[in-house]
C-alpha cells in the first residue's frame, strides 16, 4: 500500500516536472487572436508562423519580443492585424520539421524558421513551397536550397568592422598588437566567419599579429584556460579577440587572476576586441575594460524579418532575398550613446 502511494506520488511529481518543462516547448501564441483563420479576408489579417529551433538564450527572448513590437508598429501603420503561431523544437531537428508541418497544416501565411540544422530545414522549405507558403530562414541560413528570404547577421562583416575599428585604435595609440584569438565552435559558420573577418583585417592592416588561436566551443572553462595559457606561453601578448563578448566575464576573471586586468588608459591594459555586445560585453564596455565590439542587433534583425514576412504574406516580392544586418561598432567611448542595444534592455547592468 505504502509502496503504491510512493509510486503514485512519484508519478505525479514526474508529470508535473515534464508538464512544466514542456511549457517551454509548447506552442505559444501572442497577438490579437490565437486561432488561425484559414482564409484571411483580403489580407486584412495575416498569420506568421514562427519556428524556433530552441529557446536557450536570452537573445532569443529578445528577438521574439522585438518581433512582437515591430509587428504591433506595422499593424498600426498598415491597418492589418498580425497574428502569431510560435513553436519551439528544443534543439531537435525532427521535432522542428514536425513543428513546421503543424504550421503548414494550420494555414499560416508565412513561416519564419531559425534552423537547428541548415541542411535539414530544406525539407521543411519544400513542404511549405508545395503548400504555397513563403518561407524565411532567420539567423541561420539554409544549406542546399534557396528559400524565399533569409534574414540574419553579417557575421563576416561584423568581424571586419570590429577589426577595422580595433586597428584604428591600436594605431592611434601607437601599439603594435600581439593577440590571442578565442574562437567559437568550429561547427558554427558564424564563428568561422568571424575568425575569417578578423584574419582579413589582420592581413590588410598589419596592426596586430594573432599569435595563438584557441577553439573554445563556447565552453566557459576554455575561455578561462585559453586566456591564462595564452598569456603564460606568450608573455608579451597585449591584445585579444574574443569570438563573443558573452564570454567576457570569464576572460575578465582570468585576466584578474594573472594580474592583467586594467581599464583603457591604465598601465598594462590589454586591448580587447569582441563581437555581439551581449550582456557581459555591454558591462565590459561600460566599465572600460573592453575596447571594441560589433553589435549583434536583435532589434534590427527582428525589424527586418517582420518587414520581410509582412511583404511576402501580402503576396509581394522583396527587393533583396538575403537581408544581412551588419551590426554597429560599439566602443567604450560610444556605448552610452548607442541606441537599441538588446543587452541594455535585457541585462541588469547599472552604473
Amino acid at each position: 500500500m505504502r509502496k503504491n502511494r510512493i509510486k503514485i506520488f512519484t508519478g505525479l511529481l514526474i508529470f508535473v516536472l515534464v508538464f512544466v518543462a514542456c511549457t517551454t516547448a509548447a506552442a505559444e501564441t501572442f497577438g490579437a487572436d490565437e486561432t488561425v483563420s484559414e482564409e484571411p479576408t483580403a489580407k486584412s489579417e495575416i498569420t506568421i508562423g514562427l519556428s524556433w529551433n530552441r529557446k536557450d538564450l536570452q537573445l532569443i527572448e529578445a528577438w521574439e519580443d522585438y518581433m512582437a513590437l515591430h509587428a504591433k508598429a506595422l499593424e498600426d501603420e498598415k491597418g492589418v492585424t498580425i497574428n502569431w503561431v510560435i513553436n519551439v523544437a528544443d534543439g531537435d531537428v525532427t521535432r522542428q520539421a514536425s513543428n513546421i508541418e503543424d504550421l503548414i497544416s494550420q494555414g499560416v501565411d508565412v513561416i519564419i524558421a531559425r534552423a537547428e540544422d541548415g541542411a535539414a530545414i530544406c525539407a521543411s522549405y519544400n513542404a511549405a513551397k508545395e503548400a504555397g507558403i513563403p518561407f524565411i530562414t532567420f539567423d541561420r541560413e539554409a544549406q542546399g536550397c534557396t528559400v524565399d528570404a533569409h534574414v540574419g547577421a553579417d557575421s563576416f562583416n561584423q568581424a571586419v568592422s570590429a577589426g577595422e575599428a580595433f586597428a584604428d585604435l591600436l594605431e592611434a595609440n601607437g601599439v603594435k598588437g600581439k593577440c590571442i584569438e578565442l574562437l567559437g565552435d568550429l561547427r558554427d559558420q558564424n564563428a568561422v566567419n568571424r575568425s575569417e573577418g578578423w584574419a582579413k583585417v589582420e592581413a590588410e592592416r598589419g596592426a596586430w599579429e594573432t599569435v595563438l588561436q584557441v577553439p573554445t566551443e563556447y565552453n566557459p572553462d576554455i575561455f578561462i584556460s585559453g586566456t591564462k595559457n595564452g598569456f603564460a606561453s606568450n608573455p608579451d601578448v597585449n591584445c585579444m579577440f574574443i569570438v563573443t563578448d558573452a564570454g567576457w566575464g570569464l576572460v575578465q576573471n582570468a585576466l584578474d587572476e594573472i594580474g592583467k586586468l586594467a581599464k583603457t588608459g591604465e598601465e598594462g591594459h590589454i586591448w580587447i576586441a569582441s563581437q555581439d555586445v551581449d550582456i557581459p560585453g555591454y558591462q565590459g564596455l561600460m566599465e572600460g575594460y573592453m575596447d571594441v565590439s560589433t553589435s549583434y542587433d536583435a532589434y534590427y534583425h527582428a525589424l527586418e524579418v517582420v518587414k520581410a514576412a509582412y511583404t511576402l504574406a501580402m503576396g509581394e516580392s522583396l527587393e533583396n532575398n538575403i537581408i544581412l544586418v551588419p551590426g554597429r561598432v560599439v566602443t567604450s567611448e560610444n556605448v552610452r550613446d548607442t541606441t537599441d542595444l538588446w543587452a541594455r534592455d535585457y541585462g541588469d547592468y547599472q552604473e
Binding site: 536557450d56 585559453g226 591564462k228
Partner: protein
C-alpha cells in the same frame, strides 16, 4: 601465457600513467611555459569545479548505473540560486543551502525513477537532463547573470599555494575515497556494482544504495556549480553543457568501469588531469584549432576501448579460474 596475462594486466592498469608521462614530456619539450608550477596550479584551478561536479557521478557509475543529468542538475541548482541571490536578494548562506538542497532533490528524483518506477538509468537521466535544463532556463531566463560581488571575489582566494576550489576538490575526492573503502556504504556500493543480485541475496538494500548514490551525485553537482559560478563570476546558460559526456569519459579514464563495481575514486584525479592536460598543452604549443576536437574524441574513444578491453580480460580470467 601467465607472463602475457601479467603484462596485459599491468599495461591496462598502469598504461594511462605511462601515457600521461609521455604527454607531459612531449608538451614540456615543445613549450617550456607548460612545465611550470603556475601552469599546473592554474590547470588544477580550472578543472576544480568540474571535478567537484562529477565526483558524485563516480558513485553512480560504481553501482553500474549512469547519470547523464549531472550537468543539468548543476545548471538547475545554479539557476535557482542565481534567482534567489540576484532577483530576490536572499542572504547568501540560505541561497547556497538551497542550491545544494535542490540538487539533492533532483538526484533523489532520478534515484526514485530508476529504483521505484524501474526505468532504465540511461533513459531516466537522459530525460531528466532535458527536463532539468528546461526548468533552469525557465527560472534563470537563459542569460548571463553576474553573481553578487561578495561571492565573485572568492575566485582568486588561495589556501597556501592552491586556489580554494582546488583544495576543496581534492579534499572531496579524499573524503569520497574514504567513504568508498572505509565505510559499509562504500562496500555495499561496490557490491551492487559487482553483482546486484548477489548483493541483494547477501542482504544489501540495493535500491536504497542506488538511490543514495544518485542523491550524492546531485549533491556534488550542486556544490560544484557554486564553485563554477565563483570561478567565472557569472551564471551562464551554458553551465554544465556537455558534462554528461565528458564527465562519464573522465570517470572511465580514471579507471572506474562503466559496468560498475570496479575502480577507485582517486582515479578521478588521473582521469580529469589527463583530459585537461592535453587541452592545456595544446593551448601552450599553439596548434591549429581543428586539432582539438580530434584529440578530445580520440581520448574518449581510447578510454572507452581500454575499459572494454579490461572488462573482457577480467571476464576471461574469471572463466579460466
Amino acid at each position: 601465457m601467465k607472463n602475457t596475462n601479467i603484462l596485459i594486466n599491468r599495461l591496462l592498469k598502469y598504461g594511462l600513467y605511462f601515457a600521461l608521462l609521455i604527454i607531459i614530456v612531449f608538451f614540456a619539450y615543445i613549450a617550456p611555459s607548460f612545465i611550470t608550477a603556475n601552469n599546473f596550479i592554474d590547470m588544477l584551478h580550472t578543472l576544480a569545479p568540474n571535478l567537484i561536479m562529477i565526483s558524485g557521478l563516480a558513485f553512480v557509475v560504481l553501482t553500474g548505473a549512469i547519470d547523464f543529468s549531472v550537468g543539468s542538475i548543476a545548471f538547475l541548482a545554479a539557476s535557482i540560486g542565481t534567482y534567489l541571490m540576484v532577483v530576490q536578494k536572499v542572504p547568501l548562506i540560505i541561497t547556497l543551502s538551497v542550491i545544494v538542497l535542490s540538487a539533492m532533490i533532483a538526484g533523489f528524483l532520478n534515484g526514485i525513477i530508476v529504483e521505484v518506477i524501474k526505468v532504465n538509468p540511461l533513459i531516466t537521466t537522459f530525460g531528466t537532463m532535458l527536463a532539468y535544463r528546461g526548468l533552469g532556463y525557465m527560472i534563470g531566463g537563459a542569460k548571463y547573470t553576474p553573481i553578487p560581488e561578495s561571492l565573485a571575489q572568492l575566485h582568486n582566494v588561495k589556501i597556501g599555494f592552491l586556489y580554494m576550489d582546488t583544495a576543496v576538490a581534492i579534499l572531496i575526492v579524499v573524503i569520497l575515497y574514504l567513504i568508498q573503502y572505509r565505510t559499509v556504504f562504500g562496500r555495499h556500493l561496490m557490491a551492487v556494482g559487482n553483482d546486484r543480485e548477489n548483493a541483494r541475496k547477501l542482504g544489501v538494500k540495493t535500491s536504497s544504495i542506488s538511490i543514495r548514490a544518485f542523491v550524492i551525485s546531485g549533491f556534488f553537482a550542486g556544490f560544484g556549480s557554486i564553485f563554477y559560478m565563483i570561478q567565472g563570476g557569472y551564471m551562464t546558460p551554458r553551465m554544465g553543457q556537455g558534462l554528461e559526456f565528458t564527465g562519464i569519459a573522465i570517470v572511465v579514464i580514471g579507471g572506474i568501469s562503466l559496468f560498475g563495481g570496479e575502480g577507485s575514486i582517486l582515479g578521478l584525479l588521473t582521469g580529469i588531469f589527463t583530459f585537461y592536460i592535453v587541452e592545456n598543452g595544446l593551448q601552450h604549443i599553439g596548434v591549429s584549432p581543428y586539432i582539438y576536437p580530434f584529440l578530445r574524441g580520440g581520448i574518449i574513444f581510447l578510454a572507452m576501448y581500454a575499459d572494454s578491453l579490461k572488462t573482457k580480460f577480467h571476464s576471461l580470467r574469471k572463466v579460466r579460474t
